[in-house]
Symmetry: C2
Subunit: 230 residues, 2 copies
Amino acid sequence: PPGKKVLIVYAHQEPKSMNGSLKRVAVEELSKQGCSVTVSDLYAMQFEPRATRNDIVGCLHNSEEFNYGVETWEAYKRGSLSSDVLEEQKKVQEADLLIFQFPLYWFSMPAIMKGWMDRVLIQGFAYDFPKCYDSGLLKNKLALFSFTTGGTREMYAKGSINGDIRYLLWPMQHGIMHFCGVKFLEPHICFAPERVSEEKRMEMLIAWAERLKTLWEEKPINCTPEWYFK
Amino acid sequence: PPGKKVLIVYAHQEPKSMNGSLKRVAVEELSKQGCSVTVSDLYAMQFEPRATRNDIVGCLHNSEEFNYGVETWEAYKRGSLSSDVLEEQKKVQEADLLIFQFPLYWFSMPAIMKGWMDRVLIQGFAYDFPKCYDSGLLKNKLALFSFTTGGTREMYAKGSINGDIRYLLWPMQHGIMHFCGVKFLEPHICFAPERVSEEKRMEMLIAWAERLKTLWEEKPINCTPEWYFK
């Protein structure tokens, strides 16, 4: 609805890819609804995935022994995180909904997107102790993982060789988003777009656009182990 | 035993860290046994985690639409992957055992190590179709995930808020290693080293050294969903 802010964190090298098209469909449909949409195009930004000392501007809290978690937490409080991290945090802060759009790499997100998680979701900003899980600092936000797979739907069914697709959602949805207090909507999965016809890929894009039309009426998933492993 | 080759893929910024110490203990103990030990120190190497066009030397198979999986597969066959990837593949090829040493970041490995998986374990080298899972191209190798956590053992027990630690091992052990045909040993987990005394940390290091003494007698895990989610 008008006024809602959406951040799309997008990780694909090729604008003409299925992921590129899914991203474009989301920008168009959500903009049409009157949402304000921002895209972090990680490859185009050459986003840095490595968690290093460079993420802290100026002196370290403890220059004898580098501890990334402690240093970035302290830097967050002092306002001395590197500017690329601060920019992403600002986008997250302003967003009502985060959409992560990526091809599944090794049962997870590509390293460039994992680096976004590692570097942006800093203690003090995204969570703290005891402000985690349902009281995480990003509560009142929604997230949605939208991704493509190499394997077919059948290969990701319970009892098949890859196991239920939900098994691999646990670290991403529960371990990252839920930990920060973010509620999430049903993931949007396009199975094996490279193995189907151009027509079928077009149907996948239309299905995504259709879903987005009523996205704001959806209820978040109740994130319990039963949802993943039952 | 003498003659065995071990590759340690190590992802920590600080040599004085617990992960740095665990890595050193492994190098020392395995060398003492007569193993030949190689370390890929990813942060020190400034290892590139991003999967991009730069991984292919020379012309692309399809320069109209970049597909990382297809391009790296083709480049592998032509021998035109970038030299940093080729070097890591050579180390993997020669190794009998791969040890991954890292701090758990967001229920998974740090982005720099995920990037190692994304870029090194290329189709044609690590797997092919149908040469995956038990017939993966890296069969006859062993792997072991050795990592530290922020949360305590109790926080990663079944029924507790983080869920069973085994839930988050599924994408790493099954989705990556098993997919490539690699068998793996019980993970080695140091829970919350930052929350315990120096003495307790020393005990953790000694326990790791002790385990390594009889590591070659261990039997691989039987990687079924039951092991993870029962």
